[in-house]
Each structure stands twice: as structure tokens, then as C-alpha cells.
């Protein structure tokens, strides 16, 4: 048996209210993230593609396979390099302000991963318990939830450096602030002006110990075991040797949280056992 590992990376969008706002706060009030005038309500959905109301000067959203290796050996030119990595079914961070799990360690649920490249389609989900596919963070036994969904949390700038080329959150935010300040006098539309003004007022908070800044160095890592039925459309036979009876391990780390653009950078791996 061999293990084929797909290494992926890219930016995600998560339009969520931040503590101490409750998670169902639609516009953002007491946290540091906001739905701006003209934007739809916050919805907490983690989007790997097709961002909703993307903001000026924010990163391009898109998670994709960047490299493939087989048993540790790189496979340049693998046909799935560049494949879109998709999280289906509206995944959300589910701490519920510490009702269900601790902040920073909470579940990202559901975890239903897909790969798309041309006609190729792969999709498989990690169920908390495959025999009870309807379990949610509220209905799963707490011990099971903790064992299968607790994230690890660390502080560091490595993801930020990889994503932005910058390792200083204060400098990153200052550069964004300068961009928005330059845009403001050129922006005549009152809706856009109101939004820009809100973004600028948030970026003007420069305290390096403030949540807005420190959170750029948060790194949350999660592991999954894809254990649901496999949905595969593979006309060219790229996954012909896939062991469809095994579970598939996925690891994903997210960081470089850009609160102004409601975006985070993610890196990870998907491991496919093959015959």
C-alpha cells in the first residue's frame, strides 16, 4: 500500500461575528468584525471559493492543491495539482461563545471535503459517528465531540509570512490602512464610503496586544478522518488505485486571520491510501 498526499493551501473567507458578539449577531457590534453597509448579514460560513462581498485589497479567495507526493516523493506535474479544494455544506466554527466548545479549540463542522479539477470530482465527509450521520455539535456526546473535533491552538507568524510575505501584524494592518485611506477621497458612493470609514476606524487601532492584531498570529490546526461514503467521478482514472475501504486523513491549519478582509490562510494535507 502507498500513501498519496495532496498538499493544499490558499485563502478562505469566513464572514463571522467575533467575541464578545454572540455568533448569531448579523452585523457585528461588540467584536472586531462587521458586515459593512451594502453587504449581506454575517453568516459564519467558511468559504473556500466564491467569496461573498469580497473587500477591496483583500486576498484572492481559493484553496487549491499545490503539490502531490507519493510515499514522500514529490510528483511534479500530477494532474490534480491545481485542483480546487472545497469544503461543502456550509462549514462553521462551532464554539457558540463557549456553550459547546472553548474558543480557539472549537469544531469546524461539518467537514465535507471535495476536490474538483475539470471533470474530476471527489467528495467525502468526516462524520462524528458514521453510524449516526445526523449528529451535530449539540447532539454528539461531549466526549466524542472533544475527541474528534478539538483543535490545537498556537501563536506564530509562519503562516502569515507564507501567506503575505509579512511577519509583523502591525505593519500588515498599517499597510492596509494606508491603502484604504488613499481610496477614501476617491470614493464617492455613500455606501462604499461608509464601509471604508468603518474599516479605517478599525485599522486605526494599532495596539500590538489588541485582539485585532494578535489574532493574525493565531494558528488553529485540526485533523479529520474522512469516513463517509465516497462520491467519485474520475473519468481519467487519476484515483484508480484508491483504497475506498480506508478512512482518509486530513490535516488543516488556519492562520494569518485578516479581520479587515474576513479572510484566513490555510495549509493542509489530504492523504489517500492507494493499492
Amino acid at each position: 500500500m502507498s500513501i498519496t498526499v495532496y498538499h493544499f493551501a490558499g485563502w478562505l473567507q469566513v464572514r463571522l461575528a467575533t467575541n464578545p458578539d454572540p455568533p448569531d449577531e448579523p452585523r457585528g457590534i461588540s467584536g472586531y468584525t462587521f458586515a459593512l453597509p451594502g453587504e449581506p448579514d454575517l453568516d459564519r460560513v467558511l468559504r473556500t471559493h466564491d467569496p461573498v462581498a469580497p473587500r477591496s485589497h483583500g486576498p484572492a479567495i481559493g484553496l487549491a492543491v499545490r503539490a502531490v507526493s507519493v510515499d514522500g516523493v514529490d510528483v511534479p506535474g500530477h494532474p490534480l495539482i491545481g485542483a480546487a479544494v472545497v469544503l461543502h455544506d456550509r462549514p462553521m466554527f462551532e464554539s457558540v461563545n463557549e456553550v459547546v466548545m472553548a474558543q480557539g479549540f472549537e469544531a469546524l463542522e461539518p467537514f465535507d471535503l471535495g476536490l474538483i479539477q475539470g471533470e474530476f470530482r471527489f467528495r467525502r465527509r468526516d462524520y462524528l459517528d458514521p453510524s449516526q450521520p445526523d449528529l451535530t455539535v449539540y447532539t454528539a456526546p461531549p466526549a466524542l465531540l472533544a475527541a474528534r473535533r478539538t483543535a490545537s491552538f498556537a501563536l506564530g507568524t509562519q503562516l502569515m509570512q507564507e501567506a503575505t510575505g509579512e511577519s509583523d501584524p502591525v505593519a500588515f494592518r498599517a499597510a492596509r490602512l494606508a491603502q484604504l485611506q488613499a481610496d477614501l477621497p476617491l470614493t464617492k458612493d455613500p455606501v462604499l464610503r461608509a464601509g471604508l470609514t468603518r474599516r479605517i476606524s478599525e485599522l486605526e487601532i494599532t495596539d500590538p496586544n489588541d485582539h485585532r492584531t494578535v489574532s493574525m498570529t493565531f494558528i488553529e490546526s485540526r485533523t479529520y478522518q474522512l469516513n463517509g461514503p465516497i462520491d467519485l467521478m474520475d473519468p481519467a482514472g487519476w484515483l484508480a488505485a484508491l483504497d475506498q475501504f480506508a478512512t482518509f486523513a486530513v490535516g488543516i491549519s488556519m492562520g494569518s486571520w485578516d479581520a479587515d478582509a474576513l479572510s484566513a490562510y490555510a495549509v493542509g494535507t489530504i492523504s489517500f491510501p492507494t493499492h
Binding site: 467575541n19 464578545p20 458578539d21 454572540p22 448569531d24 448579523p26 452585523r27 457590534i29 461588540s30 462587521f34 453597509p37 451594502g38 457558540v96 461563545n97 463557549e98 456553550v99 459547546v100 472553548a102 474558543q103 480557539g104 449539540y138 461531549p142 455613500p190 455606501v191 464610503r193 461608509a194 464601509g195 470609514t197 468603518r198 495596539d207 496586544n209 489588541d210 485582539h211 494578535v214
Partner: protein, 434 residues
């Protein structure tokens, strides 16, 4: 006898300086109640605003959101001040004080010239807030009149009292901080390191004179701003400067409110009354206007809000001072009181109440900040935990029943689900930690 001399005889005496530990504890107890009431005032004003009102232009909507952000920011720092005063109380050997009378209270209730009242955002609220937060740049030892002009003077007297009793040459210096080692809260209670300021909150442990004065100066800088006299005091060097004091923020809100077109001001305000009550109280200012709810949904939800709020205060009380709480218990209390009880129950109740009618045909309901009885310190963990389970179970049943009632906000179901989940968490904790 001349009129002037008669007036002098009838005038109340000036507020005396603090000379003893009991003076200090009494003054700190009143400061805690003041902070608690002022926090409620800001929260109430925030709940009265509608950021998404259809009549607001994008720019006006952002201005209104700015008012809510500022009110909630100040309210959180009033909670911080209550926390700092609790640390000061514990440090000098007293229990914390999370109790207070119901609102409204008449002027001079706490020897402060001003009344305390739950007012919707607007001119009256801003005027009261501005006067309460007004700076005082007198030296710490200046004589007081019979009443405090603003909160700043309350803390001036407290500061002078700590200096009197805690200075190295004072006979009480060695024994003043009896409770220096007892349980207090600091930034770690919110998951932050000592240098990190999360949610605008900085909590300082009080263990000696320097930390006591730093706590008081922090309250003053955040409230009234960094006055020249305050900044000239030596311990201020250790206090993070706050350039956006409550006083400055209130004045900014006043200017922005005045700049809004009248139609936008009208659109931004929900029709909430002054001083709502779910039932009549005997401890409030009898001359003040109050609004008694008659809509049964409003009464039921306000009652649940009060129960959740009391529960939060009981959990906070257990976190201060000497008690039989284990380290695991303390972590559990912290893991319930701030997040999620404050943010997932109390706040949503406040936001849902304004969607219900008060029942008088004119007003919406609103969070009442009522307390049904004194907030006591429970000293026995087993007894407290049993009561915690019972209180949560009652809350869960109440929210479930209300969620099944016609014509209540849809969000009630979400709150009911979360309270039910929390109840089971508490039940499991208590069962596993006898």
C-alpha cells in the same frame, strides 16, 4: 440668626475623608454599586438603538453602530471597574459586592449629585452620562463638599483613603492588605496574558498600595480621561494610558448625535421607555417615571433575563475572595459567567425584549436590570453547585416554554437550545466533581 448662617447649619456636612478600614470597605461597596448601575445604564442605552432601522442612510447607520459600539465598550469597562473594585475589596479583607438597588435611584443616593436611571439613548442619557464621567483635576487631598460632583470624586476619596491607610508610615500599613493572597480576577480570566488587553478590559490584581492605586488610577483614566494631575501621580507610570476615556467617548457621541438629521435620530431609536419594570419595586425613586410591563411575553422574558443576570452575578461572587471553590470550580465559573451566560443569554434577552411590546400601547419592552433579592456570597460549594443545577434547569425550562409561545422572536429557540445544553454541562460537571 441670618439666612446664611441658617443655611450653613442645615447644610449636610462635607464628605469625610477615609480614616479606617471600615470607611474604606463601605466606600468601596458603594463604588461597586455605582459601577454596576452605570454599566446597566450604558447597556440599556445600547439596547435602545436600532442599527438596521430602514430609515437610516448607510452613513447614518454607521453612526448609530458607532453609538452602540461605544456604549458597549464603556459598559464592558464599567464591568472591569466593578471587577477592579472587587479586587480592592478582597485585598482589604472584605467580600465582593455584586448587589445593588433597583433602578431608578434619586440624586444623592450614593452622595453623588446625579440620579441613576435606565434611559434610552438620546439627549437625557447623554447629559447624565457626561456629568457622571466628568473629570476632576483637583489634587487628591482637596476637601469634598457634601456630595460628589461626579464619579471621579468618589475615586479621589478612595485614593486618598488608600494612601492614608496604606502608606509605609501609616500604623495600618502592614495589615491593610489582609486579602492580598485571596482569589482575585485578572486578564487571564478572559484568556489574555497580563499584557494583552482583550475586549477593552484590563484587570489588575491588588496586593499592595502601589497596585491598589494603579487600579484606582486606571478606573479614573478610563472614565474621566488622563487629567494632568492624574498623569503626574507616580503610580500612573504602570497604568496603560487610555486616550479614549468614557468622558471623551460620551462627548463624541453627543457631537455625532447632534449632527444626525432629526429623522435619522427618530429612526435609530426603538420606542423603549425609561426605567422598565416587570413588577413594582419598593426600592426605586418613587418620583421617577417607570414603565410597568403588562404584556405577558415581556414579563416572562424579563423575568428569565433577571434570573440569568442574577445567576451570572452569583457566579462572579464565587470567584472572589476566600471560598472552598477548587481550581476546577473556579475555571468552571469563569467558563460560564462571561462566555456564554453574559453573551449568549443575557445579551440576547436584551435584544429580544426590544422586539416585544411593553403592553402600554406606546412602548417596546426592554431589559429591566432588576434584581429580585440581594446577591449573596454562597460559601459552600456543594450547596452552591446543587443550586446552580436547579437554577439552570429552571432557566432551561423557562426558555423552552417561552420558545413554544406564539409571537416571540425566532431567536428564542436558539437561546433555549443553548441554555438547555449549558444545563446539561453543569449537571455533568457537578456529578463528576462532588
Amino acid at each position: 440668626m441670618s439666612l446664611a448662617s441658617i443655611a450653613a447649619v442645615l447644610a449636610p456636612p462635607p464628605i469625610a475623608p477615609i480614616r479606617t478600614r471600615e470607611d474604606l470597605i463601605d466606600a468601596l461597596g458603594r463604588a461597586a454599586e455605582l459601577e454596576h448601575a452605570i454599566m446597566a445604564q450604558y447597556l440599556y442605552a445600547a439596547f435602545s438603538l436600532d442599527v438596521t432601522a430602514p430609515g437610516l442612510s448607510p452613513a447614518d447607520s454607521e453612526a448609530v453602530r458607532g453609538f452602540v459600539i461605544s456604549c458597549l465598550h464603556i459598559a464592558r469597562q464599567e464591568m472591569e471597574h466593578l471587577g477592579l473594585v472587587s479586587n480592592l475589596l478582597v485585598a482589604v479583607g472584605a467580600p465582593p459586592n455584586f448587589d445593588r438597588p433597583n433602578l431608578p435611584l434619586p440624586p444623592r443616593f450614593y452622595q453623588v449629585e446625579l440620579p441613576l436611571a435606565l434611559l434610552p439613548f438620546g439627549d437625557e442619557f447623554l447629559t447624565l452620562a457626561e456629568r457622571l464621567e466628568a473629570p476632576c483635576d483637583e489634587p487628591p487631598d482637596h476637601p469634598l463638599g457634601p456630595y460628589y460632583a461626579s464619579i471621579a470624586e468618589v475615586y479621589e476619596r478612595l485614593r486618598a483613603g488608600f494612601v492614608t491607610l496604606g502608606s509605609p508610615d501609616a500604623p495600618t500599613a502592614d495589615t491593610l492588605f489582609l486579602g492580598a493572597a485571596a482569589q482575585q480576577l485578572d486578564n487571564a480570566a478572559f484568556g489574555a496574558s497580563p499584557g494583552q488587553i482583550w475586549y477593552g478590559i484590563t484587570l489588575i490584581r491588588v496586593k499592595d498600595l502601589a497596585s491598589a492605586l494603579a487600579a484606582i488610577d486606571l478606573i479614573r483614566v478610563q472614565g474621566e480621561g488622563a487629567t494632568p494631575t492624574l498623569l503626574a501621580t507616580p503610580v500612573m507610570l504602570g497604568v496603560p494610558a487610555d486616550t479614549t476615556s468614557h468622558y471623551a467617548r460620551v462627548r463624541e457621541m453627543r457631537a455625532a448625535w447632534d449632527a444626525l438629521p432629526p429623522a435619522a435620530r427618530a429612526a435609530a431609536l426603538r420606542p423603549v421607555p425609561a426605567n422598565p419594570q416587570s413588577y413594582p419595586h419598593g426600592d426605586v425613586d418613587p418620583r421617577a417615571e417607570v414603565c410597568l410591563f403588562t404584556d405577558q411575553r415581556a414579563v416572562a422574558l424579563a423575568t428569565l433575563g433577571t434570573r440569568a443576570y442574577e445567576l451570572m452575578l452569583l457566579l462572579l461572587t464565587r470567584q472572589y475572595g476566600a471560598s472552598d471553590a477548587t481550581a476546577t470550580d473556579l475555571a468552571m465559573y469563569q467558563g460560564i459567567a462571561f462566555f456564554p451566560l453574559m453573551t449568549m443569554v443575557v445579551r440576547p434577552v436584551g435584544e429580544m425584549l426590544v422586539q416585544l411590546p411593553a403592553g402600554d400601547g406606546r412602548h417596546a419592552a426592554a431589559f429591566t436590570f432588576e434584581l429580585d433579592g440581594p446577591i449573596r456570597a454562597y460559601r459552600d460549594r456543594v450547596s452552591f453547585h446543587q443550586q446552580l443545577v436547579e437554577r439552570f434547569a429552571h432557566l432551561a425550562a423557562g426558555f423552552a416554554e417561552l420558545a413554544a409561545t406564539p409571537d416571540v422572536p425566532a431567536r428564542m429557540t436558539f437561546v433555549a437550545k443553548n441554555v438547555a445544553y449549558l444545563t446539561e454541562r453543569i449537571r455533568a460537571y457537578v456529578a463528576a466533581n462532588p
